[in-house]
């Protein structure tokens, strides 16, 4: 995707803000609950569409800049749609010293999706994470919720090829 293309606006018509109402009602009286509200909103839409952020700001009577500030501060929140399958390459310390950089290069090279990006067809997102907590089986790659341990570059390519086949089927 080109840098200058505004992705916030894509799919704006499909954002159904009525889905957000029960969440906003539930936390209406809790002034500190912006983060739980954003977490629930992301659970609904899969990411945080601009329209949802604007709605949250208006209904909670806080500036949009505050909502945007919080949504962009935390790694958990995504302002763009995510791939149907998320590949998380662990780069925790144990994984790093066991060769996760090579594993990451293999996966990125095989899938043709840059680290932190989503494939143009929306099938796959590849990201690097700080620690999945499975350090003893390092290096670790999680494809969806399935954790693969003791991955080397050759295995990583095989895993990525299999995923690519399934995703494009």
């Amino acid at each position: 995707m080109a840098d200058h293309e505004c992705v916030c606006a894509t799919g704006a018509d499909s954002v159904d803000l009525t889905l957000l109402r029960p969440v906003l009602d539930e936390f209406a009286s809790d002034g500190g609950a912006l983060i739980p509200v954003l977490q629930r909103a992301q659970a609904i839409y899969g990411y945080l569409p601009r329209e949802a952020l604007l709605e949250i700001a208006e209904r909670r009577r806080i500036p949009f800049s505050d909502v945007y500030g919080v949504a962009t501060f935390y790694a958990q929140f995504h302002l763009q749609p995510r791939g149907a399958t998320v590949v998380r390459v662990c780069d925790g310390t144990a994984c790093h010293v066991a060769g996760s950089p090579e594993v990451a290069r293999a996966i990125v090279g095989e899938l043709g999706v840059a680290m932190g990006e989503t494939a143009a067809d929306g099938s796959i997102t590849v990201e690097s994470v700080a620690c999945l907590g499975c350090c003893v089986v390092a290096p670790v790659v999680a494809i969806g919720e399935q954790v693969h341990g003791q991955v080397n570059p050759a295995m990583a390519r095989t895993l990525a090829r299999r995923l690519h086949r399934e995703a494009t089927r």
Binding site: G31, G32, A33, L34, I35, P36, L38, Q39, D66, G69, V70, F73, Y74, A75, Q76, F77, D91, G92, T93, A94, H96, V97, A98, G99, E102, R105, A106, G109, E110, V129, A130, C131, L132, G133, C134, C135, V136, V137, A138, V140, V147, H148, G149, N152, P153, A154, M155, R157
Partner: protein
């Protein structure tokens, strides 16, 4: 398989299948299902009870299964082994010798989990019930002793007495800072204000650390009980657990544990019929390392960007919503019930010097037996790495231990006789930290490791104060340049100066500790920096720009596997002839090395 007639008096034999993160990654849930299926097929539910427990500890040998009261231990269990284990239970619980743990192939088997070398020297206080009970079953937690100390507290102790006990025990915060827990409670107790809060900091963010996760998933009631005792001591009626959203299982187990405990009157209004009321809510973090810092954590619970603020006032005076707030880490709180039950002196008696009690470590990296360990303070790093961990996992010698995560440092192998204590480790430039301990061997480049941690802290810097925001960026740029072979004379001195400034002028502990790891590598592994800068050489062959792959002629069989696997077409050669790698085309991806079955591809 057919089941022999059950003896009349048989109690169900307990099969404890580890459902900790390491074992689950190795398929332990499928093993547990296999056990369930075998038990169901043969109608054995009155004789065999399958329990999915929290982490047993020896993650590197998972999936782990421990059977019966004697604790017969089976490592690396597969479905076939599961069936043989059930058969053995039916025929009188004789251990299946072929499946038992051995330190070397063909060596003598060790039947009991307690007897394996990994467990010698460990002392389990925090992890007392981890791997033993079903963490989702309150009755099991109660039978194992959870909430007994809370009952003692509410019926026999005043808040002052509780604080005295914790002060006397010498317990210090296990999240990294090592502040005296009893003193913190005293400050919160003495602070003016009707409404006070108790927060459990479960935002375990250090890469390479999973201690708190293991406790939350393995024995959540121990943490809740510790919170209730702390709340009683400081006079709080409301508590929060601030837990990483990346730990969905911990969140689920905590939610269930809180609901179960409230339903039994162990939490909530009028706990155990006393006048003490304490409610706990869970707040899920949203992925920001800096939120482990107390004031940033508070900002996050209040719904803001998790940015720290200057202290004082400290949270114990003015914290959540401006009220006195005591924040304790998971492991700290999990110690509390034991201290109340056994007395301050018993806890003080474990450990050494000003470091009392035990510490949980996640022992990982290039070590033979890795996993979750709990050891008395004062044990040497050597005893932990060589004794419990069994030494190096590969053929290369151990080089250093990275202790304490991004805030900690690297301890070289020649200083492994350093005892694990707050003072000794921080004097050595490492620090106990939260308990991550990653063993590295000679395949790890210390300059590259420093770059890795600086990249982490730079990305996690909240950006509020200039020393951390700009300083981590500049240090990262210089170290990155060195690893790429573009280091220049004077870089080392500049790094040292930057490190000193960032350490002493940053707003919070994230910036204040961010240079630690780099400074410790400059202190102990300065020669590696100098080689990178002056000779453009990486002795570990880990820096891609300074190393290349070659085929070892004596070992290459000419099988062609590497040539076919190479994604960039850099390898040429004919069948059965020695192959070669074109360094100009090679991208250093490592696929050839991983593919070769003859060890014929080497990094130089």
């Amino acid at each position: 398989m057919t089941a022999p007639a059950a003896p009349a008096t048989a109690r169900a034999c307990e099969v404890r299948v580890c459902a900790g993160p390491g074992c689950v990654a190795k398929g332990s849930l499928e093993i547990a299902e296999r056990f369930d299926a075998v038990v169901a097929e043969n109608s054995l539910s009155d004789r065999v009870r399958v329990i999915r427990t929290g982490c047993h500890g020896l993650c590197s040998k998972g999936p782990l299964v421990v059977v019966g009261d004697d604790g017969v231990f089976y490592p690396a269990v597969d479905t076939a082994a599961a069936e043989r284990i059930v058969e053995s239970i039916l025929s009188g619980c004789e251990p299946v010798e072929g499946l038992l743990f051995r330190t070397s192939p063909g060596g003598p088997p060790i039947a009991r989990y307690a007897d394996i070398p990994f467990n010698a020297g460990q002392q389990r206080i925090v992890l007392r019930n981890c791997g033993v009970i079903d963490p989702e079953d309150l009755d099991e937690a109660l039978a194992a002793g959870d909430y007994a100390a809370l009952r003692t507290t509410l019926t026999a102790l005043t808040p002052r007495e509780v604080i005295e006990a914790v002060r006397g025990s010498g317990l210090r915060g296990r999240g990294g800072a090592g502040f005296l827990t009893g003193l913190k409670w005293q400050l919160a107790r003495d602070a003016a204000g009707e409404q006070k809060y108790l927060i459990c900091n479960a935002d375990e963010g250090d890469p390479g650390a999973f201690m708190d996760r293991a406790v939350l998933e393995g024995d959540p009631h121990a943490v809740l009980e510790g919170m209730a005792i702390a709340a009683y001591a400081i006079g709080a009626s409301q508590g929060y657990v601030y837990v990483r959203a990346e730990y969905p299982l911990a969140v689920r187990r905590l939610t269930k544990a809180i609901a179960d405990a409230e339903a039994r009157g162990l939490l909530g209004a009028g706990i155990m019929g006393s006048g003490f009321t304490f409610k706990i809510e869970i707040r899920e973090g949203a992925g920001a390392f800096v939120c482990g810092e107390e004031t940033a954590l508070i900002a996050s619970i209040e719904g803001h960007r998790g940015m720290p603020r200057p202290r004082p006032p400290f949270p114990t005076t003015s914290g959540l919503w401006g009220r006195p707030t005591c924040i304790n880490n998971v492991e700290t709180l999990a110690n509390v019930a034991w201290i109340i039950e056994h007395g301050a002196m018993a806890y003080w008696g474990i450990g050494r010097g000003m470091s009392a009690g035990t510490k949980v470590f996640s022992l990982t990296g290039r070590v033979r037996y890795g996993g979750l360990v709990e050891v008395p303070m004062g044990l040497t790093v050597a005893a932990l790495v060589e004794g419990i961990g069994g030494g190096a996992s590969g053929s290369r010698p151990i080089k250093a231990a990275q202790i304490g995560g991004p805030a900690g440092g690297c301890l070289p192998v020649r200083l492994f006789d350093t005892p694990i204590e707050y003072q000794t480790l921080s004097a050595a430039g490492a620090g106990v930290g939260s308990g991550g301990l990653v063993v590295v061997d000679e395949s790890t480049c210390m300059v590259e490791l420093a770059r890795y941690f600086l990249a982490f802290t730079q990305a996690e810097s909240c950006g509020k104060c200039a020393p951390c925001r700009i300083g981590t960026k500049r240090m990262l740029e210089i170290v990155t340049r060195i690893t790429e072979g573009d280091g220049v004379p004077g870089d080392i001195e500049q790094l040292e100066q930057l490190g000193r400034v960032v350490k002493s002028t940053s707003l919070c502990a994230l910036g204040g500790t961010a240079p630690n790891l780099m400074l410790s590598t400059l202190r102990y592994f300065r020669a590696e920096y100098e080689e990178h800068i002056n000779e453009k050489k990486c002795r570990a062959h880990a820096c891609a720009a300074l190393s290349t792959y070659v085929v070892v002629p004596g070992k290459c069989t000419g099988c062609g596997a590497c040539r076919k696997a190479c994604p960039s077409g850099a390898i040429s050669g004919v069948a059965k002839g020695v192959h070669s790698i074109d360094p100009a085309v090679c991208t250093r991806c490592g696929v050839c090395e991983a593919t070769c079955r003859f060890d014929a591809v080497a990094k130089v």
